[in-house]
């Protein structure tokens, strides 16, 4: 089961692969921290209706037959999965 983290929030300005700044609180947060009440889900492939997760590798998936990865920022065709 996938848990949302700060890295999945539009309010995160990522500083690096470890931390970022929350644009709401202006505080430094770990990008792996659990989300707060102000969480706004960012468009990412893993939330898109076209995304099909790979059975072999949880960090890979496909979109219309093209390889994608779950944390890739959503493209112009993003449609939120049900």
């Amino acid at each position: 089961m996938m848990c949302d983290k700060c890295k999945d929030c539009t309010n995160l300005s990522a500083r690096d692969v470890f931390n970022g700044v929350c644009l709401i609180s202006k505080e430094t947060v770990s990008i792996d921290a659990p989300v707060c009440k102000k969480f706004v889900r960012a468009d990412k492939c893993k939330y898109c209706s076209k995304y099909i997760a790979s059975e072999k590798d949880s960090n890979l998936g496909t979109c219309d037959g093209d390889m994608v990865y779950p944390d890739l920022a959503g493209c112009e065709d993003f449609i939120l999965a049900e």
């Binding site: 990522a14 500083r15 690096d16 700044v21 644009l23 890979l60 390889m67 890739l72």
Partner: protein, 881 residues
């Protein structure tokens, strides 16, 4: 076991330092906004993002069958269009390479091998002229923003970059796709066609050269031309390409030109989308911002970004933002370094002057944004293999030139350039580095401002001679019909490469091919091959056939050295020609070409000689001072004085004069080495080697040999023609290569021990050997004709007390003038007490913002590798000027 400081032969201070450690005389602080951004930079780790390579590759695959240029343009458009916009609190100048502060991306269509697993690489490495041997001896920095170790969430790549574990599988898939298609693999395949390819493999295995530039860092050391985009805006550039397509579309021979223009349109459209995303993000942030003042900042930012996404800038802030966008697009487009802003202060001046006169900006506001700009440049990162990373030492080499003359020959200094210097004084940042183009027409006040900046110890400005720069351009670009106006508009690309100007619409600008070529030949290794009959004594790799030659005279030995030097250069340059021309249809620099006079008008990118000047294929060397010193020692001790034989010398070199190798002690300067065998004969020979004449003391015995080495280098380099039909260019500086190449060398006849870092720069004396004062160094450094070389480089370390006060400033300026008047090209300074560096090495956490000048660039001390740190501590410190 006996620890020795070697100070019976070497003197690491010239004069007596004050009793107490002394800080730099000039110390200022950044404005609050820049200070906050700087803190964010200090806190940030270097991070890789996969978005750009992902979309580039996905679109490239989809567009198979298109003309290669059009296919690349479409891939580029897709990659830029999908980048995320990341705006951080306190920013006024915005945009980053990707979503991270110190973000970089791998460009697998250029270099796809290093992210792959060791097993995957090993399959090819056995037959490939690769960087593997270099990587094995490269010691990288571990402090500051470096991610040298993996965690459960983050992988350390090339011992420097952090990558999210979630993205790694995708990146590997992408890199595998590019196998046998990338520039790297294409280079390799084409290189094998050279009849002496096997010798090339042995060159690389013996570490006769630093990293491959043909794919790893092919473009850069060049100057971006902003006049084109400032005049037309992005939309105007697109429109011009459309006009040219319309005018040529009926010409059956113009297919490649049409493809070039169409590809340029696509690439610029991608950049426009990217800029507009930032504008939208600024609007979004304004909508959620509660602080009224910050809300206004976001709104202004959104309007500025929206405007520059299409139009020419109307004011200073728009021009500054647009220039920064152009810098980023070039870094994202290619894996390269040193895309320098050049005469940026002069390009921006008309916008700024109009704003100041109108009262729409103040000097304080200008200074604030210039300090913020410095943080932005310092954030720039490029992702390369560990070998190239070691050479670049984490720098991206963005050089701003100040002063010099205008195309009409009058002084080019302006008030905005004073603010550029002040921003560097206030804000301790490594980039952009500053160079003052010294000319007698510059005002004393301007030169003194430069000295004030030097006194902060930030290592900038470097000082370069306008006369040498212009003369170099007139001599070396006469084959391309250079004009005096373009020569006067010259600028430094990268850390030090002289790049001719390209006056555009009567304004100062740039337009030349990258300084690209053979990235640092290990000159001391060539002498090792002479002494050991063609075999590299460290790896036992046979590089040249055995001859069994016994040298009866020094001249005979020198002849072999010159022959080997020439052969090494010939094979490297010939294979480079073959390899790079095979990549010209793979990773063309579309956006950089659009920012180089006259590519759009000619309908050709810089790889197809679209630039106004193209004689830029370059070979660099490292360790030539150690080599001249070693040859002087051999001449004196073996042939003049018969103090020992060549066989005795070889024996003692292989035994490292009885010392433990620096690679084992972990100390990389001659200051602190450990002896484990006390053999009186070895000690005698070592003493004689150490006492032999040394470059940097105004001693003709060794300086003449240095001239012979330099002449041989120049002649050999120029004997080969590049792919554009011009002669190759010769260049002398070290960047960070004197570390890893020294680690690949055994002990040398100058008394230097195995694995110890080589002399830096082109004319810097070996640390501790220059004992006749600074003016003797300047004399030695000017024994060659600097106008023959694309760059030369001299570093000096001054104690802060030696240049204290007005008198000290005047002395320092006199010294610079004297050097330039005597024909020197470049000089730069570390102004620091060596004891502070020693303390910083022991207590790095107390010195996060300590800056040092390495060789052509400034770096944070904590992000400099140990071999270079040791060399910096050991550099001779001058207590008096």
């Amino acid at each position: 076991m006996e620890a020795t400081t070697n100070d019976q032969y070497l003197c690491f201070t010239c004069g007596t330092p004050p009793e107490e450690v002394e800080d730099r005389e000039v110390k200022k602080t950044a404005c609050p906004r820049a200070a906050k951004l700087l803190q964010e930079f200090y806190d940030a780790k270097i991070s890789l993002d996969t978005t750009f390579p992902y979309w580039y590759t996905r679109t490239w695959i989809k567009e198979e069958g298109q003309h290669p240029l059009v296919r690349r343009g479409l891939a580029m458009k897709s990659a830029f269009s999908h980048l995320e916009a990341a705006i951080r609190p306190d920013e006024i100048l915005v945009m980053s390479r990707n979503k991270y502060v110190r973000g970089a991306s791998i460009t697998p269509w250029t270099a796809n091998e290093f992210p792959l697993s060791d097993e995957e690489r090993a399959r090819k490495d056995s037959k490939k002229a690769s960087n593997k041997a270099l990587e094995e001896v490269t010691i990288l920095a571990t402090g500051g923003g470096v991610v040298s170790e993996s965690t459960p969430e983050v992988l350390s790549m090339a011992r420097r970059y952090g990558m999210r574990i979630e993205e790694h599988a995708a990146l590997i898939e992408i890199c595998r796709y590019w196998q046998n298609k990338s520039a790297e693999d294409t280079c390799w395949k084409w290189g094998t066609l050279h009849p002496e390819y096997d010798t090339l493999v042995n060159f690389k295995n013996a570490v006769l050269m630093a990293a491959d530039m043909e794919y790893g860092n092919r473009h850069g050391r060049s100057v971006t031309n902003y006049q084109i985009v400032f005049e037309k805006g992005f939309q105007g550039m697109i429109d011009r390409c459309k006009e040219l397509i319309a005018a040529n579309v009926g010409d059956g021979t113009a297919v490649d030109k049409v493809a070039y223009w169409q590809a340029t349109i696509y690439a610029i459209e991608g950049v426009q989308t990217w800029v507009r995303k930032y504008a939208s993000e600024a609007t979004r942030l304004a909508s959620i911002e509660e602080d009224a003042e910050q809300k206004v900042v976001y709104e202004a930012m959104a309007a500025r970004l929206e405007w520059i996404s299409s139009n020419p800038p109307r004011d200073f802030m728009e021009a500054l933002q647009l220039h920064w966008t152009c810098q980023l697009e070039v870094y994202n487009e290619m894996q390269g370094s040193g895309f320098s802003p050049g005469r940026l202060g002069q390009v921006l001046y008309p916008y700024w002057k109009e704003d100041i006169d109108k009262g729409s900006i103040t000097r304080e506001q200008t200074l604030e944004v210039l300090e913020c700009m410095r943080v932005k440049y310092t954030e720039l990162e490029i992702a390369t293999c560990a070998g190239t990373t070691g050479i670049l030492a984490g720098n991206t080499f963005n050089n701003i030139c100040l002063g010099g003359v205008k195309p009409d020959g009058s002084s080019a200094e302006n008030e905005l350039e004073y603010l550029f210097i002040q921003a560097a004084i206030n804000c301790p940042t490594v980039s952009p580095t500053l160079s003052i183009i010294y000319d007698g027409r510059l005002s004393n006040a301007f030169l003194q401002k430069g000295i004030e900046c030097n006194k902060t110890g930030c290592g900038m400005p470097a000082w370069v001679s306008n006369r040498v720069g212009i003369e170099y351009c007139m001599k070396n670009h006469s084959c391309e019909g250079i004009t005096l106006e373009d020569a006067r508009a010259w600028s430094v690309g990268g850390c030090l490469e002289i790049q001719p100007g390209a006056v555009y619409d009567n304004k100062i600008g740039a337009g030349s091919y990258s300084s690209s070529g053979i990235n640092f030949i290990n000159v001391p290794k060539i002498l090792e091959l002479v002494l050991f009959d063609g075999v590299d004594p460290r790896t036992n790799v046979r590089v040249f056939p055995a001859t069994g030659k016994k040298y009866e005279t020094f001249d005979e030995l020198m002849d072999t050295f010159k022959a080997y030097f020439g052969k090494v250069i010939q094979i490297f340059e010939e294979t480079y020609n073959m390899k790079v021309s095979a990549t010209f249809e793979l990773d063309q620099p579309l956006l950089f070409s659009a920012l180089s006079a006259d590519c759009i008008e000619k309908g050709a990118d810089i790889d197809h000689a679209g630039s106004r000047y193209n004689r830029c294929f370059t070979t660099w060397i490292t360790g030539q001072v150690n080599t001249a010193n070693s040859l002087a020692s051999i001449k004196k001790n073996v042939f003049d004085d018969n103090a020992f034989t060549l066989d005795e010398l070889k024996d003692v070199l292989l035994n490292n004069f009885g010392f433990i190798s620096a690679l084992d002690t972990g100390n990389f300067s001659m200051m602190e080495q450990t002896k484990n065998v006390s053999d009186p004969d070895w000690e005698r020979i070592h003493a004689l080697c150490m006492r032999a004449p040394k470059f940097g003391n105004d001693d003709a015995y060794v300086d003449d040999i240095y001239v012979q080495v330099a002449d041989c280098f120049l002649e050999s380099v120029e004997a080969i023609t590049d792919v554009f039909g011009n002669k190759w260019c010769a260049s002398m500086l070290s960047v960070g290569t004197h570390g890893p190449l020294g680690q690949a060398d055994i002990a040398s006849a100058d008394g230097r021990l195995a694995g110890v870092t080589l002399a830096d720069g082109g004319q810097s004396p070996y640390p501790g050997t220059d004992q006749n004062g600074p003016y003797a160094v300047l004399s030695s450094a000017t024994v060659i004709d600097h106008t023959n070389f694309k760059n030369t480089q001299l570093n000096m370390k001054l104690h802060p007390a030696s240049i204290k006060g007005n008198m000290g400033s005047a002395k320092m300026l006199d010294m610079i003038r004297s050097f330039m008047d005597n024909g020197g090209f470049h000089i730069q300074f570390n102004v620091v007490d060596s004891r502070m560096l020693k303390d910083a090495q022991e207590n790095p956490n107390n010195y996060r913002d300590l800056l040092v000048r390495v060789a052509g660039f400034t770096q944070y001390w904590c992000e400099v590798s140990k071999p270079i740190q040791d060399e910096l501590i050991a550099r001779t410190e001058y207590e008096e000027v």
